[in-house]
Amino acid sequence: MSASELRIMRSREWSRPVRPARREVLSALPQLEEGRPPLLFVPGFGHGAWAFAEHWLGHAASRGFPAYAVSLRGHGGSEPAPEATLRAYAHDVVQVAAGLPRQAVLVGHGAGALVVAHALARYPARGAVLVAPVFGGWGVLGAALRRNPAGTLPAVFGGPLRLNRGQLFSRELPDEEARRYVGRLGRASRRAQWALLGEPEAEPAVGAPPVLVLGSPDDRVVPASTLTRVARRYGSAPLLFPGMGHDVMLDARWAEPIDAILDWLEKEPAAH
């Protein structure tokens, strides 16, 4: 990280702080406190903290990691926020992270990974995991338009983005479960959706945290080339889980990626 990228002056944030919004935070804590770093899961657009409460929170806790998930404003059980910006989402993540008892590892999924990337510039996380990261750009829009034109096109004009079963899950997941998850999806604000097309790149992370990127080569939202590009930005290669859909935390083989994340945290010296 070069000093020219390190921003000290933040006049806009000082003079126009983000307006607070009530946030939903779900958690699962290990029965025995073992001094492991807390994990904060950040769901992507349309998802709420529930997406992690389904399997991953409990699994992380059972392996000794205190696990929390936040719903970004306007999602899940958090306060409605139709005009929220990407900056407000990042604010929500930093607020929850700084409120945890110890320095946290941020885990972002989908566009939540982009929110985490922005939050990393404002909070020295112990580590970060970007799961199937949606960093925006015209490529992602093109892929989504090809796979699901009816669900994607309205979002371009400020309407809701509607992801379908085929984009999110593999065929292994029982139909009934998949329908239930898709039914729970909400929407991000239109300004945040547009930010995926025109927002400047996230500033470099403070405190040089180790970053792990993982996803599925069969993800129908994030092309494998994007995974490689994002991982290269953080100086590594992506960890791949073939045969899974975009929502790896809900798909049939949800245990594999979370186990890989926890193994990485146990091995990564800087993340202790």
């Binding site: 020219s4 006049s11 607020q95």
Partner: protein, 468 residues
């Protein structure tokens, strides 16, 4: 969460012993950096040095973190009602925000809990030796430092350790500055410095004279207006009393909107005077002296209530004190008043009693070192002062970036020595630089800085240190 009275016991590993200049045993702490004080600036120094890969030993004379913000500490200047003068975005550390649920201007007890959370969150307590005061800091060979410590209060043996670098973060609001007056010894009423003022109950039903129009003086005058039977407020000159809210937002946030647009000082002053005219109007109408300077030329006073109580007759503005009589105080305009309690809110002076004043280029010993960025000493590249600034906003952000810059300087000394040498020559050239517009001279205002000017200077220093 652990309490603030935890005793840290850093592990004294990697210690080898040698002999100091006068034959004392010196334990060599290798590349470890010593931080003096675990208040706001000391804590952020520990965190940022650790984050940049340095080992840290911090010495704290009290038994908890928070320095002056910890009301349990005997040197703490806070009183029961102390609130922040700057709003949250200007007060918090840039990478550890205060909770959304807190008010715009948090109470001092919230500020203390903020530091305790900061210390726990980043696991800083294990690097702090509590109840240990620093007696001497002396330069040693190889641009290193011998730091001598002992238990607070002077018990137990002294212990000297050698460090690669030292960050002085001992605060500047604990050594009271008391003015001299003719006849003060004969005065039969009660006299105290604002540092011993803790609770409005001390004023209840009494006739009170408050001296000084800093933020503390104004706060105490307002409390006297609410509690005392009579309150006079003596000021040397007229001041601008800024409300804490203007145009529906915290005043400092409005000011920074203008700073962000780089609105010139003159225009900001004009806008400010115009806003005040719309609200409180001409202060001389209340008997307050006319300010002899333009706004932004002295440390800003943020107090919405002072003018309100003056307007209700609960505070009587009076000029400077001429002399004290046994049962009366004579004012500069010849009037005599008869207070029972006189409170001097006349400020504090920085003190570095553990350091030979010549190290700082302060041969007069006036507690007024010659530094660059108020932090770096010519000729001593491994010494930094954190928090010796009096900004027109919160201090903690400034301390954070000072210590980040110092940590990166120490990294450069190891990895790119030529850049550290260039930095040292800039320190020599630019020592004594000021970072504010013209300010009225006083023993405090030499380290007054404008936060925008100052932080831009730190940003430039970082770019010069690391840029291409």
């Amino acid at each position: 969460m652990s309490t603030s009275t935890d005793h840290g016991r850093p592990d004294p590993e990697a210690t080898s012993s040698g002999l100091g200049s006068d034959g004392r045993t010196v334990s060599d702490r290798g590349d470890t950096v010593c931080v003096i004080g675990a208040g706001a600036s000391g804590l952020t120094a520990i965190k940022n040095l650790r984050e940049h890969g340095f080992g840290v030993d911090c010495y704290e004379r009290e038994t908890g973190v928070g320095g002056g913000w910890n009301w349990r500490h005997d040197r703490s200047p806070v009183y029961a009602s102390t609130h922040l003068i700057s709003s949250k975005p200007f007060t918090q550390f840039p990478d550890f925000p205060m909770p959304d649920s807190w008010p715009d201007y948090p109470h001092h007890s919230q500020v203390l809990s903020y530091f305790e959370r900061y210390a726990d969150h980043f696991d800083l307590r294990s690097h702090i030796w509590f109840g240990t005061e620093v007696v001497r800091v002396e330069p040693a060979e190889g641009e290193r430092w011998d730091v001598t410590t002992r238990s607070t209060g002077g018990y137990g043996p002294e212990r000297t350790s050698r460090y690669a670098a030292v960050v002085i973060a001992n605060g500047h609001n604990w050594s009271p500055k008391l003015p001299r007056y003719e006849g003060l010894e004969q005065f039969r009423g009660e006299i105290m410095h604002a540092s011993s003022y803790k609770d409005p109950a001390q004023l209840r039903g009494k006739r009170v004279l408050v001296v000084g129009a800093g933020n503390t003086g104004c706060d105490i005058a307002v409390e006297a207006a609410q509690q005392a039977s009579r309150c006079w407020h003596s000021t040397r000159r007229g001041y601008w009393y800024a409300p804490k809210y203007v145009l529906g937002r915290p005043a400092d946030q409005v000011n920074d909107s203008l700073l962000a647009l780089r609105v010139p000082l003159r225009l900001r002053q004009w806008l400010y005077h115009w806003t005040l005219r719309l609200t409180v109007g001409d202060l001389t109408r209340f008997g307050l002296p006319k300010p002899d300077h333009r706004v932004y030329e002295t440390h800003p006073i943020a107090n919405s209530q002072l003018v309100y109580y003056v307007g209700h007759g609960a505070i009587g503005p009076v000029p400077d004190i001429a002399r004290f009589h046994p049962y009366a105080v004579e004012l500069a305009d010849g009037r005599e008043i008869d207070p029972e309690v006189v409170i001097f809110a006349t400020g504090y002076l920085p003190r570095f009693e553990f350091l030979d004043a010549s190290v700082f280029g302060d041969s007069a010993g006036a507690g007024r070192p010659t530094l660059w960025l108020n932090a770096f000493t010519p000729g001593h590249p491994t010494l930094a002062v954190a928090g010796l600034v009096q900004p027109d906003s919160g201090l903690f952000t400034l301390s954070h970036w000072q210590t980040v810059l110092f940590a990166r300087l120490l990294q450069a000394r190891r990895d790119r020595p030529e850049r550290a040498v260039a930095f040292a020559s800039r320190v020599r050239e630019r020592a004594g630089e000021r970072y504010s517009g013209q300010v009225k001279e006083s023993s405090r205002h030499w380290f007054e800085v404008g936060h925008a000017d100052y932080l831009r200077a730190v940003q430039r220093a970082l770019v010069e240190l690391e840029g291409k």
